[in-house]
């Protein structure tokens, strides 16, 4: 598990999803009318506010719960969330920044080799699942890390987990398994 497989395997975090609460009711209509860079979705009951500086999109509900997506790192997610709360405060709401939590981290990684998915699935029978008719990737779920890895036959991986550390650990964990099932290089 902790084998030194980090031969510069670039794990690129593409998306960090975080939630926080403002501890106060928010008037969505006020936000939609007076806020900048907002999209009002009354049919769903939320307002999307997009920020440029950390490129994030936030879904704002009237209960005061906010989901913040699009950040590329956990710190960036927190910074963006605080900026967002600051925006709402300026609109006149008594906002308190509380319960910030990173919920999901999505990362991609590429193996330097192709993977034979059928062999990989056979070797890791209960943990890995592969339905080529449904999805072209094999899904490998690590229960204790609560991470999910999707392995494509080209050797590309997408990893989702509750935080960046878990994601990195998951990649390290799955690397040797993939290494065994790599496709011959003659391809």
């Amino acid at each position: 598990m902790d084998s030194s497989n980090d031969e510069a395997l670039d794990i690129i975090v593409t998306n960090v999803v975080a939630t926080f609460r403002t501890r106060c009711h928010l008037n969505l209509r006020t936000i939609a009318l007076e806020g900048t860079n907002v999209i009002y979705k009354p049919e769903v009951g939320k307002v999307l506010m997009k920020l440029r500086k950390p490129m994030i999109t936030a879904s704002i509900w009237s209960s005061g719960k906010i989901i913040c997506t699009g950040a590329t790192s956990e710190d960036e997610a927190k910074l963006g969330a605080r900026r967002l709360a600051r925006c709402l405060q300026k609109l006149g709401f008594k906002v308190r920044f509380s319960a910030f939590k990173v919920v999901n981290v999505l990362a991609v990684c590429s193996m330097p080799f192709a993977v034979h998915l059928i062999d990989f699935t056979k070797n890791n029978r209960p943990i890995a699942s592969y339905e080529p008719e449904l999805h072209p990737a094999a899904t490998y779920r690590i229960k204790n890390l609560k991470a999910t890895i999707q392995v494509f036959s080209t050797g590309s991986l997408t990893v989702t987990g509750p935080n960046v550390q878990n994601v990195a650990t998951a990649v390290e964990q799955v690397y040797p398994l993939l290494f065994e099932c790599q496709k011959p290089l003659c391809k």
Binding site: R21, C24, H25, L26, R83, V95, S98
Partner: protein, 468 residues
């Protein structure tokens, strides 16, 4: 027919006569024939000129001025009919307000070449009307009281009931009195090829629109206020522009405004000045109208928030009183806010439900009150409730993170892009479709005015793309 007119009606009729007589000289100067003037008199609601009229036969309307004048007279008459001054006259004619239009059984399209007078079996002759099929003429007459039905009306005639409603007859019809109390109109037997509805129940017709003949500019002074409200939704560009420039060329007005793409704003500079001059007044009025409604809206919302502010404070005081009385207040707070103090995951606030309740209400306070509160109390409210300033380090101990005070300048940097929006380029329009993919936006807009680079444009359709 008009033997029972009241004194007021007689007065109006005499006025009509005087006006027509006085205009006779003017008509002669203009080169119009006497017959034209007499036709105008025909169109007016009077019975005193029957002898003059009946000798005329069919008269041929030619020229724009004649039709314009005749249309003006009709409108005058229609307005008079609609005005309350003619109420007694109308009461006498109330029998004719309900009538059922039916196509004659032996109708043939060839009959549309009728130029003879309307067949009215009654002894009174109304008038002979210059009936032309192509609706160039605007023959109107009202069905007076005491008229013996059925009345056969050829095509191209505009009918006016005693109640002032005007109907344009596109297909020859036979008018018969309706049974008592019946307001609906039976569908005419469709012998005619044109399936156009001939008569519609009176209360559903919008009179000004029915009067409009195709090429002739029938304008009405009273219509602009109505039409202005129809401007935003109306798709007929010719109609709203007509009242504004009644004397202008029809060709320019009826050409549709050019489609403007946002990428090329100066695509038709030549067409735009022309349209601008024609549409400047309606556009500016449209703008004013919309701006006026927007200003009214903003003002009302501001007033509403201020009132809400006071109301909220009262409610808060009531809640406080209730809290003192009721022990069940904590349970009530659960009902109000499930994810607040009653939330299992967050156990930070134990000051009772009251401050959180207050915050829920205060969350709706407008910006001015917030600033006052913040300046007065500073960030002491947040600080007092939450942990001290270095709360970030100690957060991991508790189940949930403690609050971080959103300091006004220290931690959270303001948005670095302030007001890019105070540009002078403004578009006010309606949208057909707005689409967004990630940060690519596509706009399909319609019916708008815009100010771009200091110039004003108007469009009926606009397509745009932008990246955010």
């Amino acid at each position: 027919m008009l033997t029972d007119t009241g004194p007021v009606a007689k007065l109006y009729l005499s006025i009509i006569d005087d006006v027509i007589e006085s205009m006779r000289e003017l008509f002669l100067d203009e080169g119009l024939e006497d017959r034209v003037l007499d036709d105008l008199r025909h169109l007016s609601v009077t019975a005193k000129l029957d002898h003059l009229v009946s000798s005329r036969g069919s008269v041929h309307h030619t020229g724009k001025r004649q039709t314009a004048v005749s249309s003006a007279v009709q409108l005058w008459e229609s307005k008079m009919m609609q005005s309350k001054a003619m109420e007694d006259f109308r009461k006498n004619n109330i029998n004719s307000s309900n009538f059922v239009l039916q196509l004659p059984a032996n109708y043939r399209q060839n009959d549309q070449e009728l130029t003879a007078s309307v067949v009215i079996p009654a002894s009174q002759n109304i008038c002979s009307f210059p009936v032309k099929n192509n609706s160039e003429t605007l023959a109107t007459f009202s069905l007076p009281a005491g008229l013996a039905y059925p009345v056969q009306i050829p095509a191209g005639v505009t009918l006016q009931t005693a109640s002032g409603q005007l109907y344009k007859v596109n297909v020859p019809v036979v008018v018969t009195p309706a049974p008592a109390g019946q307001q609906s109109v039976s569908h005419p037997t469709q012998k005619a090829p044109a399936p156009q509805p001939v008569a519609i129940p009176p209360h559903t017709i919008h009179p000004p629109q029915e009067v409009e003949p195709s090429p002739v500019q029938a304008t009405s002074v009273t219509q602009p206020p109505q039409l202005m409200t129809d401007l935003p939704p109306s798709q007929e560009s010719s109609l709203p522009q007509q009242p504004q420039v009644p004397a202008a060329d029809t060709s320019q007005l009826q050409s549709p405004p050019p489609e403007v793409t946002l990428a090329e704003n100066e695509s038709s500079p030549q067409a735009e000045p022309v349209n601008l001059s024609m549409t400047a007044s309606p556009c500016s009025q449209l703008l004013d109208f919309q701006l006026g409604t927007e200003e009214a809206l903003t003002q009302t919302t501001q007033l509403k928030t201020r009132d809400v502010d006071d109301i909220l404070k009262e409610v808060i005081e009531e809640e406080r009183e209730k809290a003192d009385r009721l022990d069940l207040y904590s349970e009530l707070s659960d009902i109000v806010q499930l994810d607040g103090p009653a939330d299992n995951s967050d156990m930070e606030e134990e000051d009772g439900g009251l401050p959180l309740e207050e915050n829920d209400f205060l969350g709706m306070i407008n910006a001015e009150a917030i600033k006052v509160l913040q300046e007065g109390d500073g960030s002491s409210d947040d600080n007092s409730i939450s942990s001290s300033s270095d709360s970030e380090g100690a957060d991991e101990l508790a189940n949930v993170e403690e609050e971080d005070p959103l300091n006004s300048g220290d931690d959270v940097i303001e948005q670095d892009i302030p007001d890019l929006f105070d540009t002078d380029n403004v578009i006010v329009c309606q949208y057909d479709k707005i689409h967004r993919s990630k940060n690519r936006w596509k706009f399909h807009l319609k019916d708008g005015v815009m100010c771009y680079a200091g110039r004003d444009y108007v469009f009926s359709k606009a397509v745009g793309e932008a990246e955010w």
